[in-house]
Amino acid sequence: MGRTFTQIAAVTMMNLRSIPDRLWTSLSTVIAVAMVTAVLLGFLALANGFQSTVQGSGSPDVAVMLRKGSGSELNSNLTREQSLLVEEAPGLARGADGKALVSPELYVVVDGIKKSSRTKANLPLRGLGVRANQVRSGIKISAGRMFTPGTNELVVGRAVSRQFEGFELGRKIRLAAQNWTVVGEFEAAGSVFESEIWADVAVLQGLYQRGSSVQSVRARLDSPASLEKLKAYSEADPRLKLDVQAERSFYAEQGKGMSDIILYLGWPLAIAMSFGALAGALNTMYASVDARMREIATLRAIGFGGTPAFVGTMVESLLLSAIGGVVGALATYLLFDGISAATLGSNFTQVVFALKMTPQLVVQGVVLALVIGFVGGVFPAWRAARVPLLAAFKEQ
């Protein structure tokens, strides 16, 4: 046992030391594997970034109420009577004045100009009820101040001012055929709210001739468990019959569709590319075995077993692909991590998100690299283990 181990160690070291002799071949395997890993991780970081932005948006103790069957805030419509009825519902948190923490909201689409492409893109302009601040938690005005109700003042999400033109603090901007002043910028822990523009709901109602109707009502629950009470209350009243969801699950559902599409594209592409890289790895390792044919046969002749030759070749292949995997992961991290991207979300408006690498993703990339290394090594290693003794005496 000890002897086999010494032999394995010796042959493996010989293998690894001879890599510089095949520098270009080995390098091409490393780069091919790095490319595959980078493509996979690029897609995974894209999907992960989008998903964590959208799914991180909801709070479990905020309920979102929409017209039944509308599916999104953009398509929903609720009357003033309905929003007043919601205020009477059980299970809602109440402010110091004893009133329920409820925010009737409008959600309309306006045009913004993307800085990157200078083309128009749909931005959400949300009208907030007076108690919106108490309904939502985790919102921080990072610059300037909140808008004054009843005026044409706006606050914009951090992502909007980063990605779109003309939203700097203090700027006047024309949206929805009106002049507005940007008086503040807010942070919302990287959630979709940072892709929104906020104004007073009453101002928007007037502007859009909506009368007193709204599109959604948000309410703070006294505990996440109270959602069921609210649902029962809404179902029991024929004037309501709303879609009642916890904000967290509302956004979780929205995030899933898009990131699924990205994953459905990313994995098959990465797997197809892996097969290409695998072909390269096999060529490299077969060449490596062929080049050492005489050396391996000589070792066999002086009493070395087949196992050391097998292990030596495997280790070489796994090492090359592991280096490729790490290089690919590092390159993706340096090139893409934190890069800001924007796409159309399920409300038909832009969702700004950042590509996000995590250790779990890196593990997936390196595992794929090692699979390439394993399959690319095992067949050549098998050949190495079965080199006939005669090969030692063959002319090369």
Partner: protein
């Protein structure tokens, strides 16, 4: 033995290596073909846009409405040939996750303005005369297995009927085919009049107008005249060419072009290395015999041609196989996506690009090994052992 025969024999001397290399090339071209098909689908709206067609939307955002009276007023603008209008219905059939466009239109003028929609005259007539008629694009009809005469209930996630229902009943009176495979037919259309009278809100408003000009030369004047006419009204407009509108719409999804180029670039950089490397190995292994060939009178040019020919043959075999598979996959992808991303078409342009790429790849990977082979010194090579 001719040069070509020699190239062929050389290629299959190490069959395993050749097969693996061809396989790597095959994968790269298959990826290229599939992604180009995908890009074709995304760009179909831009590429099939009519040069003499303009889109008029609400200036605030294209999801907002404008009064129907705008249609008549626009018809009076000089340089305008046809004006029609449309409304986004937000419709779905049974499953809201299966996407297609459902649009309420003015029947005759809508069909006139899109001559690329092919329809038998009798079906056209039925659509114009029947208030609850529905025309389906071929992609949608195929997706759901609809036949002419079927009764089709469509639901809307935006509108409701006055009676509180969110489902509208239609009769399918015809199926629209695209003039070419690139024309997107993932839509249904029905009469605006029926929609307007039954919906619970929206009144006499429309979603957008499509304007056909007398000639593309009139576009600029018409665009300006329309927007000036409606300026300072509660419903200001923005008029763009159909192509510009389609482009901006696609931009909203994000920089898809960059993603596709990055993946194709990575795939080709990878095989460039793999094939180049294989050719280097091959030449190195054959140093002796190349020296022998030179000794017996092969010119350096012929040796050069031999190596380049081998790398070209490799890329052409792998590339052709990859294209074949991408072509077959384009049909599968069209079925799998149901046309949701646009028509997945494998156009001749993809094949032409592939041939260019094959030639470039073959020459590039063969060049250094071929130069090396050409410069092999007979005396050193043969005296090496």
């Amino acid at each position: 033995m001719t040069l070509i025969e020699l190239v062929r024999k050389n290629l299959f001397r190490k069959p395993l290596r050749t097969i693996l290399t061809v396989f790597a090339i095959f994968i790269a071209f298959a990826i290229f073909g599939v992604l180009a098909t995908f890009q074709n689908a995304m760009n179909a709206g831009i590429d099939t846009a009519g040069a003499d067609r303009l889109i008029v939307t609400n200036k605030i955002n294209f999801t907002l409405q404008m009064p129907i009276a705008y249609v008549q007023r626009t018809r009076g603008v000089e340089g305008v040939k046809i004006v029609t209008h449309a409304d986004w219905f937000g419709g779905y059939y049974q499953d809201p996750r299966i996407f297609f466009a459902a649009i309420a239109v003015e029947p005759a003028s809508y069909l006139d303005i899109y001559p690329e929609y092919l329809l038998p005259p009798a079906q056209r007539q039925a659509f114009i005369s029947d208030r609850t008629a529905l025309l389906a694009g071929e992609t949608v009809a195929k997706q759901f297995g609809w036949k002419v005469g079927d009764r089709i209930p469509l639901k809307s996630n935006i509108f409701q009927q006055k009676n509180g229902s969110d489902a509208w009943d239609f009769t399918l009176v015809g199926i629209i085919k695209g003039e070419t495979a690139r024309v997107d037919t993932n839509f249904v259309i029905f009469q605006y009049e029926y929609f307007k009278e039954t919906r619970s809100f929206g009144g006499d408003t429309i979603g957008w107008m499509i304007v056909k000009t007398q000639s593309p030369k009139d576009n600029a004047n018409v665009m300006k005249a329309v927007d000036v006419m409606f300026a300072n009204s509660p419903f200001e407009t923005e008029t763009q060419t159909e192509q510009a509108f389609a482009k901006a719409f696609l931009e909203q999804a994000g920089d898809l072009g960059f993603i596709i180029s990055a993946v194709v670039g990575a795939a080709f950089a990878t095989i460039l290395l793999i094939v180049g490397n294989t050719m280097m190995l091959t030449v190195r292994e054959r140093t002796n015999e190349i020296a022998v060939m030179k000794t017996i009178g092969f010119t350096s040019q012929r040796i050069f041609g031999l190596v380049i020919g081998e790398s070209l043959l490799l890329t052409v075999i792998g590339g052709a196989l990859g294209l074949l598979v991408a072509w077959l996959l384009s049909f599968a992808l069209q079925n799998a996506t149901g046309g949701a991303f646009g028509p997945m078409t494998f156009t001749p342009g993809i094949a032409i690009w592939s041939v260019v790429l094959m030639a470039m790849l073959g020459l590039l990977t063969g060049l250094i090994p071929a130069l090396r082979a050409m410069r092999i010194n007979v005396v050193t090579a043969l005296g090496r052992k």
